[in-house]
Amino acid sequence: MKVILLFVILTPLIGFLINGIFGKWTKPFAGVIAASALGISFLLGLFPILSVLHGHIVEYTYFTWMPFKEVVIPFGLRVDYVSAIMLFVVTFVSWMIHIYSNGYMAGDKGYARYFSYLNLFVTAMLILVLGNNYLLMFVGWEGVGLASYLLIGFWFEKSTASDAGEKAFVVNRIGDAGFIIGVLYMVYYFGSVTYSNVFPRAEHVLGYGSTAATIIGIALFVGAVGKSAQFPLYIWLTDAMEGPTPVSSLIHAATMVTAGVYMVARSNAIYSLSPVAQEIVATIGAFTAFYAATMAITHKDIKRILAYSTLSQLGYMFIGVGIGAYWTGLFHLMTHAFFKGLLFLAAGAIMHSMRGLLSIDLMGGLRKYMPQTATVMIIASLAISGIPPFAGFFSKDAILGNALEMGHPIIWIVGEITAFMTAFYMFRMVFSVFYGEEKVEGLYHELHTHEAPAVMTIPMWVLAILSIIGGWVGIKMGGHVPIEWFVAHTAPTTEVAHEAHYSEILLMGISVTMGLSGILAAWLIYIKKIITAEKIANMFKPIYTLLANTYYADEFVYCCIVKPFWWVSTNFLWKIVDVIIIDKGMVDGTGWIAGRVGKGLRLFQTGFANNYAYWISLGIILLSSWYLFVKII
């Protein structure tokens, strides 16, 4: 088992090394190598998962990684009830996406490079998931950051792509700073960063409701905000859509962005101690869910719509982990990985056959040309809208139901409104892309629009099936919900004093109604054309403009952060500090002093290396004499 667990990580790494080093020669079968590496990794990963299912947590320490005096950091891997879910999701969805990429990237000139990056990404993600301490998690955390930078900027000839890669990197750095601070606090308080060492002692060391727990919680959450693209730091994610679409599917739907949720669920022992930190997590989650959904309504680019919906769904997950019902967050993470991965893959298939066109204004009636893609897209949209029996219904309902029961009615209301909007924008997209008439005459004929090849459709179908049945683990069976029971071994739900009881059927009914009414609204507007979208847009002109411009977030950053920096830099740093103090005072001044001194010292600079040695030797003599006569005698 020890070796198997290690090879779960090593196989993608080996794939990366093969494709990375010998890419020139392995180009024809780079995709096969990468996909089979992931397949092996997935199959090997099943062993520890099975062991966890039997109730044995798998944890091995391989070697001591950094021995400091008191703090010893091991290199160890751990699969427990939380990471087992992540391990399954990451390896399986990544595997599907690797297979899909074989078709999508065919003919690209960076074929081998692409697959080596993809494997590197999965390696880093697995280290993040499986590491048994925070520092190892941080290695994975930075590793996925690096790999995502490489993948987003994969088509680096396009300046937008490389800019987007840099933006993702820079914004993530802010979050990483928070993460590091959290880990350092942890070292300070616990003298260790190993999970099995920190969590059992958390309550004893920190105490319930203590400031220390809150600080650690918030600092770690700042890291999660950066990586999971929550409210202030979300701006990188939409730009990151410049990368190849399977990359968006892998990084921005299924794996990397969920790292923050995973980390919060993983640190449940600390969050449970701090109601304040929990409140912040849940609030930011709810706000992001709503905020991103409003932006998704107005956008016309399929990938951007999906990107905003990802933000929104991540908000849901943070509500789940923020209210203390960690299993709901992880549950939604899992179902989301299935259906959002699928949505991105379907968008990729559309993009593939539309030669890169993405605007929903150009499409319509695509159902006839791409029946399979249309079917899986509708399945995924139903899942994300929360229509039973699709996966999204169970997880979203679990989050919202728990939010209400834990005493967060406002979050519940916001969540329900967001659910309505989710259904609306998803079906707005579906209806305008797949139904209705061809909007631009002869476009499809010209582009030879066709169904995607089997290597792309099969992974989509697999994910589609999972999008349907993936949520069924959330059905109450024999008195308890299987996934709740499973996760609660490692991350027990925070206990609340006053548990309100609401009728479950009623809550479900409200959720379903919200979803259905969203779909209905979209149907009325985009199919029946009772009222055209333009008219509504004109009716609420100011709001529409605000939303279409994404709340002017980039402009806000530019005005309020970049501009003042610019101003301070030009007016103060440049003109005063640089020119007067540094240039005139320090540079010229030191130069002047150095010049004066140099004139004196020039006598010593004979240019003969021997002469320099004299002075050095004389210096040694002086030093030793000083030691001799002052210290000893």
Partner: protein, 330 residues
Amino acid sequence: MEVLIAIIKLIIVVTVLSVYVMYATWYERKVIGHMQQRIGPKRVGWHGLLQPIADTLKSFWKEDVIPDKADKPLFWLAPALAATFPFAAAIAIPFAPPLHLAGGKVFYFSVFHSKIDILYILGMMGLASFGVLIAGVASGGSKYSFTGSQREAAQVVSYEAVLALALLNPILMAHSLNLEKIVEAQRHLWFVFYQPFAFVAFVIAMIAATARVPFDLPEAEPELVAGHMTEFSGLKMGLFFFGQYVMIFVVSALASIVFLGGWTGPVLPGLVWYWIKILAFIFMYTWFWGTFPRYRYDQLMDIAWKALLPLMVLNILWTGFALAVGLPVL
């Protein structure tokens, strides 16, 4: 007492090695002769068995020519060093498996025995090239000698590194620098099965380090006459030969100990296994001599720096990692 035993051992080793060198030349001439469909030495004694003795005697009576422009002290020093250092390396090589005496004492069949045998042998092997280097310098501006020495210096620096890196893998696996411990660690399976790449690299590097075909550039006959030995004659030249053959013996023994399990092996007694392995390596040398063309100089350097060295570094990384996490090495 111990000093006395050591001295006796030393004398025996000198004798054995001298006889070994004499008959190694005979053996090589015989084997190479048969490979080239000749008979080899035949006249002196039965199947030419007395030939090496005749050769040795002849080299004693040869006129000792010293070039006018030669640097006399260095000219004397060069062959002495060329013979001394390989010999110094050879005294750490056991000639037979250690004998476990009554009372827990162990009798070693090597003159010098320590915990860091391999380091000692590597050090002495590195120094062995000095004889050749000085030979080039001392020959008083002879172009052939000088070029030969230059090549030897570059070759030794390159291949010494490969040799050490290749040895590091078995050392890591055996957790010891001591030859007996390394043999002990291979009781179940020889290291050549764990470390095939290291073994191949070691064999290539050991041929280059002893400057034999196909890497015999320091004394490439067609271009350099006899390389560094051009100006030497008689006994001095004999000493160079002595050094080279002892060196071949040392690396062969090292290879068989470190990679092929030394005196471990089924059925036959340890001593027999040990010498079979060493003689197999010596035969391999002759075999290569008879079959391989010489490499070009830049190819020689490319092999060392662009192929073997990176490969060995990767190999060590893998070995260390595998040992650290408890994986099977291969």
